[in-house]
Symmetry: D3
Amino acid sequence: MIRKFISQLNGGTTIDDIFLVQNKDLRTTKNGSLYIQAQLSDRTGTIDARMWDASTPFFESLGDDTFLRIKGRTEIYQNKIQLIIKQILKTSQEDIQLEDYLPSTEQDVNKMFSELKQIVSSIKQPHLKDLLALFFSDKDFCKRFCSAPAAVQYHHAFLGGLLEHTLSVAKLGDIIAPLYPGLNRDLLICGIILHDIGKISELCYERNFHYSDEGQLIGHLISGVLMVEERAKQIDGFPKTLLDLLRHLILSHHGEYEWGSPKLPMTLEALALHYLDNIDAKIHAFNKAILNDKDPNDNWTNYNRMLERKLFKKSHNYI
Amino acid sequence: MIRKFISQLNGGTTIDDIFLVQNKDLRTTKNGSLYIQAQLSDRTGTIDARMWDASTPFFESLGDDTFLRIKGRTEIYQNKIQLIIKQILKTSQEDIQLEDYLPSTEQDVNKMFSELKQIVSSIKQPHLKDLLALFFSDKDFCKRFCSAPAAVQYHHAFLGGLLEHTLSVAKLGDIIAPLYPGLNRDLLICGIILHDIGKISELCYERNFHYSDEGQLIGHLISGVLMVEERAKQIDGFPKTLLDLLRHLILSHHGEYEWGSPKLPMTLEALALHYLDNIDAKIHAFNKAILNDKDPNDNWTNYNRMLERKLFKKSHNYI
Amino acid sequence: MIRKFISQLNGGTTIDDIFLVQNKDLRTTKNGSLYIQAQLSDRTGTIDARMWDASTPFFESLGDDTFLRIKGRTEIYQNKIQLIIKQILKTSQEDIQLEDYLPSTEQDVNKMFSELKQIVSSIKQPHLKDLLALFFSDKDFCKRFCSAPAAVQYHHAFLGGLLEHTLSVAKLGDIIAPLYPGLNRDLLICGIILHDIGKISELCYERNFHYSDEGQLIGHLISGVLMVEERAKQIDGFPKTLLDLLRHLILSHHGEYEWGSPKLPMTLEALALHYLDNIDAKIHAFNKAILNDKDPNDNWTNYNRMLERKLFKKSHNYI
Amino acid sequence: MIRKFISQLNGGTTIDDIFLVQNKDLRTTKNGSLYIQAQLSDRTGTIDARMWDASTPFFESLGDDTFLRIKGRTEIYQNKIQLIIKQILKTSQEDIQLEDYLPSTEQDVNKMFSELKQIVSSIKQPHLKDLLALFFSDKDFCKRFCSAPAAVQYHHAFLGGLLEHTLSVAKLGDIIAPLYPGLNRDLLICGIILHDIGKISELCYERNFHYSDEGQLIGHLISGVLMVEERAKQIDGFPKTLLDLLRHLILSHHGEYEWGSPKLPMTLEALALHYLDNIDAKIHAFNKAILNDKDPNDNWTNYNRMLERKLFKKSHNYI
Amino acid sequence: MIRKFISQLNGGTTIDDIFLVQNKDLRTTKNGSLYIQAQLSDRTGTIDARMWDASTPFFESLGDDTFLRIKGRTEIYQNKIQLIIKQILKTSQEDIQLEDYLPSTEQDVNKMFSELKQIVSSIKQPHLKDLLALFFSDKDFCKRFCSAPAAVQYHHAFLGGLLEHTLSVAKLGDIIAPLYPGLNRDLLICGIILHDIGKISELCYERNFHYSDEGQLIGHLISGVLMVEERAKQIDGFPKTLLDLLRHLILSHHGEYEWGSPKLPMTLEALALHYLDNIDAKIHAFNKAILNDKDPNDNWTNYNRMLERKLFKKSHNYI
Amino acid sequence: MIRKFISQLNGGTTIDDIFLVQNKDLRTTKNGSLYIQAQLSDRTGTIDARMWDASTPFFESLGDDTFLRIKGRTEIYQNKIQLIIKQILKTSQEDIQLEDYLPSTEQDVNKMFSELKQIVSSIKQPHLKDLLALFFSDKDFCKRFCSAPAAVQYHHAFLGGLLEHTLSVAKLGDIIAPLYPGLNRDLLICGIILHDIGKISELCYERNFHYSDEGQLIGHLISGVLMVEERAKQIDGFPKTLLDLLRHLILSHHGEYEWGSPKLPMTLEALALHYLDNIDAKIHAFNKAILNDKDPNDNWTNYNRMLERKLFKKSHNYI
């Protein structure tokens, strides 16, 4: 049965689908009976839902489940659509398509991953080659690297965003390296591929996108350095200064202290990584701000707090 | 006769060459006779020079000439080489090779200019195409565009630097544009080619590199907009908003208010121009800081005030 | 018939007046019939309005008209006044008094303009005199100069505000110039009169006050320089450095990079212009913040975000 | 006998004048004999001086005297003029003209003080009038108010500078007050007259201009408030809030936290004081920077660190 | 009768208690009769209240009284509790327990004050000892010092907060002074005890916590200096520089210009005071932010704007 | 034989001591013979030295040795003392007392280390206890921990400075922890002891104090986290979040992004560590600035660029 997505629901529709439960409460009506008030979501939006005549034992039986199968019917109340629940069923992990609930990349993940591995395979420096081999032969790492978002909301904030962003910066690195002879291509490409891997530990994305405790307390720069550390120790004779140069690439890629880098870029490769990362992130953030803006009559987006400006969203009409 | 460059002079050498006169004074010795004290330079350095037994009429006859032909002989005084002048002769403009006196690009100017014009010729949008045609059919503009430096000291601070930098950013734009579908290639390339043309008016480079009055008072961003204005008026029906978008590219390319841009980039093309300009300028500034650093025993340059950091100058030893 | 202004309306009043239409929608009631929901305004406020039993063709016939003649009757709904529309008629430009719809200066525009032209006529430097003559003999320029606001919301944000502010600063310049001998009065006064003319292109004020595309993309500093450029070219022998000094006055009058000036004031006249502009603007902003504050029981205004402070609004009670 | 000022000395001149002693040491020559090495100054400059064949008792007899009468003869040594001292005599306070040693206002102090007192006498608010009367009937205060500089080096850094600056700002206040009806003239003028009185305690100017311990530890804003406090207590019924408003004027006149004001201007009068003080100070600082610049061939001053820019010093040539 | 606190009220409860009146209005119902709409509070919360069938004379008879005795009954309206007033009676100051209405310290005020006086008594330097004696023998000062809050909302924002904070910092000073021999204990402790006394004049706390006019216009740093001034004048021979050092401690204790200190700490004691004040204030602010955070399911507080970060609120679970 | 320290040398003294060689060159005299020019230092200062009649093989035989035994004689040349070398001998590591060449703590290192270990032994939390045990049972770590400086020049810039600073902060933590119940003492003390251990890798101190490549590229915060990582992995069941909390303490202890912390303190312990570290460092920096200031006649130090202020250095005279 094809899923009915929230953004397409009207009043009077029968529902039988699995939803992501954002929160739920057991409440008391004015006349003293119990009901469940919940907020359900899929990747297209959020809907308020109520189940009348609930009981405490039933409510508690639902536990903290992230996903529940809901049967019921929509209705209009105070000009808004709500869902009156008839039945709530527990569901199992294998029935869930994560992409139905969280925003996902529009690219083909497998194709992107192949492209990235091809770039990886072009690295010749033996220690960097070995290091990347350790990462990309680790199935669990690969799975998380391919599914993680690149941010909670800033840019590439969708499943597969980390891979999409990393590949995009790697391509930039690939075409730019030959233009600047001083740049060491292998170090730059290796730094690009590893610069954001710490986001695998920094971000949680099972229910919505938020920071993990590790992410808040130490951040993806340091997590990335620790992930490299673990593998570099397994490689005989990984040169200390080369390792420091690679750590430096990861730590300095935000480019400024106020953006959380404990070091400014002090090598050509670190400088290039910072700018290439930034240009890809900002172009995506611009595109997203323009796409998300609703008002068709205005040539300008609303003031975007993250970018600290308005954007002209109709260039294409004038060129 | 092959020129003897200052950096290669020893004591006891006979000199007969044209020098750039940085400054000269008529002074009195302790016993009351007059002598000329001057500082002469070519692109390799500076040398102190004295001419004994000078007279006021002779000194005044030299006027403010930037270049003079000097005959004399070097000697060592207090461990430094100085030049004892025997004769000073006026010279004519055609005997002067500007590249002998001021630092110049190491690239082939003609070849770079051909490459740039090829990129120009790839633009299809008719008004932008016409606008660039007006610039590049103007011989005086082309001459100055090919000889101007891109800065007084920060990056590409040498004759031909404006061309070298512009071409380099144009190549970046050329290879990056296809990666980001939202970017309008024609507008981006046109903006890149014109973004620094105001430096032709901002900088003086006949004797050394310094800012012109116009450069100090209004700056190359505004000068560039005025240069565009003059030509755009000659093109029938140049669309107003397209012109605003192009002006915006030039005005916002420094990216931040504190770097003198009166507007932040608010279009994708302006954003891209800012980053591509920045990455090329910073990579050159890094390379220059590393090249200029003298101490062979230190892995690090001195603290670089413009970049606000030290640079690791021996990456290549460790990769 | 005397207009009934929105701020004075009660329930049960018959209406027949032209209103400025802020926005209007065609909507469907729960039972499926169509109605028009609109927001109407005049300079005293805004009122919600509904027209029941509307049709799509009728709604579309209204087009994008900014002003419409509305017949109907007010009523109270949920403690707020709303307007039930009986009839909507199109209207013609000549029936509209712009001052009825947008905030206007409380000064006499003609009198202010005469005063300003008298100050203009006191300038003796021939090129500056010719330049101003070109501006003030241009009827279209004069009309817009007299009606434009000086800002969207910060200070002098009302019709005639540009003239009022410019005249006020010109008077300050007039009385201060004699106190500081180094100041060139003609250049200062000319700079004052032209410093904000770019606001004519930067701001739109036909329906409400907002930035034009040109205003957002290049800003009133650069627009002003371009307006000067166009006229200076018509004057034979306008000295280049004098023109640069005048451009510098316009470009630097915000005084700091972070306020959008691409150059800091580097002449006495530019410095004076910056401070005189600032003192007039800030005094008006203070007065406006105090006037707009509602609570009569507090000696202090609310925190004012633009001024980043609270203001003591009852000094006069204590002196 | 007319004083011979240092800037006009040549070699071979006999000297008998009182000098300000900047510092002096007793030193030993290579052959073991003692000599005095001193630096002497008057308002035109500084000269190195030596007295051969000195003795410890003689040196100690000179104590810490700021002024000494010096007899001797100038000579040229290593292209610099120095003074060979024959005799050093102690001198008495009454023989000293402070203006010979420290830079002084070029205005007539008595005339300025009369003008200021006339402005004082125009104040009508009784408590402010009484307060100013207490200050200006205090002879010691008046003497120091008329002789103090307004700064160590920034602007009006000369004897009489406090008076000159205060009078200048008071005149600005006098002509501007009528233009802005909301401004209370009496409070503004009183605030202007008292805004910098704390500089009497903040600065020392008996030998050169430097900060006193009180100046460093608490500063002229707070010292000024304490001076007002002492007098306000002597006036019956000085209204508390009026006193707070006056304190606020003094405390907030630097206008920004980073310039040492513990409060931002929050009344119209405080705002006006801040800008009028600033415009007078900055215009003087500009003029001083231009006057002090030596190079006649450059249209621009050197980079001025206090003003954070270069200044165009030849406007008058181009208007 | 035991007070019924607002946070514990349900519908249908009879009320007869004194409340703090946050605001009250006389309004007209749709049918034209008058009613009083008020907001009442105690330290546990706020409740909306209405009295039907009010009259203008009765409303005016209530004046501006901060506290009123209210009789009535609670009811539920639109899911919120409101209070229907039957009777309003004026009350007298002695029936009011301020701690019932405003948040108060959880410590024993008398005990804290004894501890503080013991620390005061340990000071040996005679002038500082005399100065503190003048403060602590002043009953009115002591009463206000013991009841004032230390802030409007940042830290120690409750009755008794000034005493609690001062004692806490004094204890820190007491244990730290012996560790750093350069620190003068007497000056440090005296500075600690007096550093925030100006808050007695800066803050109002009779109805809620807000800034007084004096607080806004001059601030507690300057008020504190003035309070010290008044007493120091009563002590014969209080050394001027010692007084300046003490003033400096008070003025510089915020440590940075942007936090309103007109001077940076320039003595060891001023530096220590700044850090000890800061550490106590910040630890309390952290604790308060964690306590006030409602969501039990999140390891993190919401973003705290004052502290500019989120806080990890469950450390204790993981150690 | 007792060492003759450089600061006590006069002319004509016979020398036979080991010196630290700051740099040395082989140069040619004007008449073509070779000599060695060197700069020698011990902890009291630096002296220029020359050895005439040197040869290339001899010069090369000296290699890069940091310490050399020098025989020769001092003489006065141009008013400065220099050392004429007669003989240069190689020396062995065991003859060198590092404290003779580099500034050292004035405390007893063994006593300090005992005190620190006693504080370590008071920690009860088993994983933190185990972790510290791993560090302090590692002889090489202990040796470097006891000899490293805490900075290149800012504070505790001497051998043993890391230990002295760490102990000092640990004592502060020890006495402050009981005052704030929310603080977990064990975590705080453990964080204090480990917060600066990365300085062992960050700083080099064999010849003078400077940053290592690792120090420049990744910094002591990250080095410290990596040192903890290595040991934590050896402890079974070290709880992940506890490890994150400890890492967070180390990473955030600079307290602000601009001081190189990639995270702001977000736990009470991290906040406390930041302030205690800061207060100890700043008090030492103040004391050092005052000690180093030479001029006995001024109550104030020179402007201190690191602290951005002058310091009052004679408080003790006035209390």
